[in-house]
């Protein structure tokens, strides 16, 4: 008789050994949710434990303090982020516009739409209280992200596909809508009436559209025959 059927005989109580391996992950997931929702100080460890289905004491078997739990959450989900990011990095190269759009949509699917995205909001809220973590986050997430986007933009500029004056700041034209979407969904979004919810795919489509029209240098035809954009010159606003 196959082994996996034997387990079914007395299935009800999940095996302890199995549980022990799963605990940290369950606790981290619960902690992420609550930290994102209520902030570090506003979250009670017991709540985290209960949400993970264990008692207060059990949490401390795996994380020596609330602060360590917090750090572990950030590290764990930053790990997820980075892996996803690096995978996305290694794909489709041409043309730059497609690549940029691809990066954005991939980023959304692999990070923005996942639980891990809560880390972004978390860092925004708690940076001042955890400066070491904030620095860590900068080094491990922000800088690589900025570099990745910058390389795509630079690539477009090199191939004359993009016309960008200030690439360093242009990077934020890509990042800002992505951050905005995440922050919205993790803060004001859940408090908004249905009529004001953001539809992520429409939102991203719109942002990609405006963004690309904003950086493309000239009209061109994509490899699939879709007409794109032609930009002539930089606009300089008349500001006060």
């Amino acid at each position: 008789m196959p082994q996996f059927l034997e387990n079914h005989a007395n299935a009800a109580p999940v095996k302890r050994e199995r549980r022990k391996d799963a605990r940290p992950g369950e606790l981290l997931a619960a902690a992420l949710d609550l930290f994102v929702e209520k902030g570090f100080a506003g979250t009670r460890v017991e709540e985290v434990a209960l949400r993970a289905g264990v008692s207060k004491g059990t949490l401390f078997l795996y994380f020596s303090s609330k602060e360590e739990l917090f750090k572990a959450v950030v590290r764990e989900y930053i790990g997820t982020h980075l892996r996803a990011g690096h995978e996305a990095l290694c794909v489709a190269k041409e043309p730059a516009a497609d690549m940029l759009a691809f990066c954005i949509t991939q980023w959304w699917e692999r990070y923005g739409a996942t639980k891990a995205a809560g880390i972004t909001k978390l860092m925004m809220s708690e940076a001042a209280n955890f400066p070491e973590l904030a620095e860590f986050y900068q080094q491990e997430v922000i800088l690589p992200g900025r570099a990745l986007i910058r390389s795509v933009l630079q690539h477009g500029v090199n191939t004359s596909e993009f016309a960008i004056d200030d690439i360093d700041n242009a990077v934020f034209a890509v990042l800002a809508p992505l951050m905005f979407l995440i922050l919205w969904r993790h803060s004001l979004g859940p408090c908004s009436p249905a009529s004001q919810q953001l539809d992520p795919s429409r939102f991203l489509k719109s942002q990609i559209s405006i963004l690309l029209r904003g950086v493309l240098a000239t009209q061109r035809h994509s490899d699939r025959g879709r007409v794109t954009v032609q930009t002539v010159k930089t606009y300089e606003a008349k500001t006060a």
Copy 2:
């Protein structure tokens, strides 16, 4: 009778209450700083009192609880926000591109660069813990802001200056960089090395440039003779 005259009716005791009236303002300012930096739960009322130069007990003479203090902070600085926003609203109308750029720079000067901008970060962090405040913020700030931007964009579309597919989402192409700038300056920014700081004016200039190229329908000359942008068609990204 003009509204601003009504205040004169009971002007006499103003001098007497000045001292008393000044206290709440100092407390609110101190509270704003600390709430923004450390979050609601992470801020101690004693710290607020100390920063405002009064004792802990005095704070409770003016605000019946920490939560009431928090609400007062939000309402106070939302007031500032709204007044600034509405004033900006009532000016320069043509052309739409200039108006948009003007709105953005005004918004920065009158709100983004002020202490009041901390409220934005605060609401992002605390929305889940103060749903009624979040709703209030949405109603009083977000919706009017979106409506204002939308009206500018719509205006541009109406005059054929702008070509925008999805105006509702395009609004966020304006909002996102502004939010990003505020959040950066109130969270990760202070934790970053000097080399990675954002220069607000360059940042905004870059965002305005890309944004306008992204929404303008066609090349045009601004009233001051600067050449701007010509966009031909909407780009549709080749995504998975």
Copy 3:
């Protein structure tokens, strides 16, 4: 009307200012009792607070942690000890036997019979858990005490009043009964039936008598005409 009568008028609520100065002392006294009785780990801070007539939180206004409270107790009562010790040190010099007896009785009256003596038991019990304090206690109390006694013994030897082979160890012949008396009174004594209680004055008289006969070199007459002791040679026991 004398001032102390005025206080009687509205006596019930003791003045707060007065209280604040008294608090630390009251807390230290309560803490000494309980730490001596139950040990550091076995004592609850709330118990200390209650015995001092305040609430849990008040204790932490004066001592930042249980451990700091403990250290403060030791330092406070070591201070008492040292002051008493130094005063005793500066008196009656001759003859050495009188001086030794005087030191012992003074030590008892000024230290052994006071609350401060609990520190001795405390250090015996907690030395391993507070090595820094133990070292502090050694440096500040034990070493000076040993030096003091040693100087008295040496004085007696110099004047040929005492005959002592091993002065360094002889010091403990003075210390041991004193320690014993303290430890007895703070540990087993309170658990003993009345029939087995030690009478300190008899105990000390007996110890002084045996001790002096044990160290005196030769018969002599004290200045008050009491006959004393004559010792001829050192006894060397036949041990296995």
Copy 4:
């Protein structure tokens, strides 16, 4: 039937239970060390188990609670003490001075220098928390010990070897240095620099010397020809 034979009656299963019977011994030894070092409350049962090489759960198979473990430790090592004490009691009788010295050195070798001596420190520290144990300790250890020493002193007095005014308190002149040595070695000693360590054999030699000079009535020659002590009269200190 001699008592020691009774154990043979059910000797057969001994081998089988040896393993099982060994465990409690290892646990008791580990527990003694830790209780002595850190006190009852300061010792964690898990630490005891680890030091004994078993798991936390196993400890509770043998001792139903931490408190029972503590009592078992005291009883176990008091047993050791008593056996050693009674054996020492039954030997060498003359002269009283030799017997006293013999008792002291035997006591040191058979008890003071062994792990069991930790019990003495333990009882000093924990008497107030375990009154029933303290009473047990008094009945089983202190009283017999005092009686033993008293009988030796009385014997010396009866033979005119000793001149002692207050025999009951004189007993403590014997006990005090012994207690002192044990307490020193189990508390402050381990925290002291090498330069201040006590050398037990020198310490005891010195104490015995002073003690015997302190109680002997007159000069005499020991059976090995060593000259000893002559005391003429009781010293009465001039105290305040």
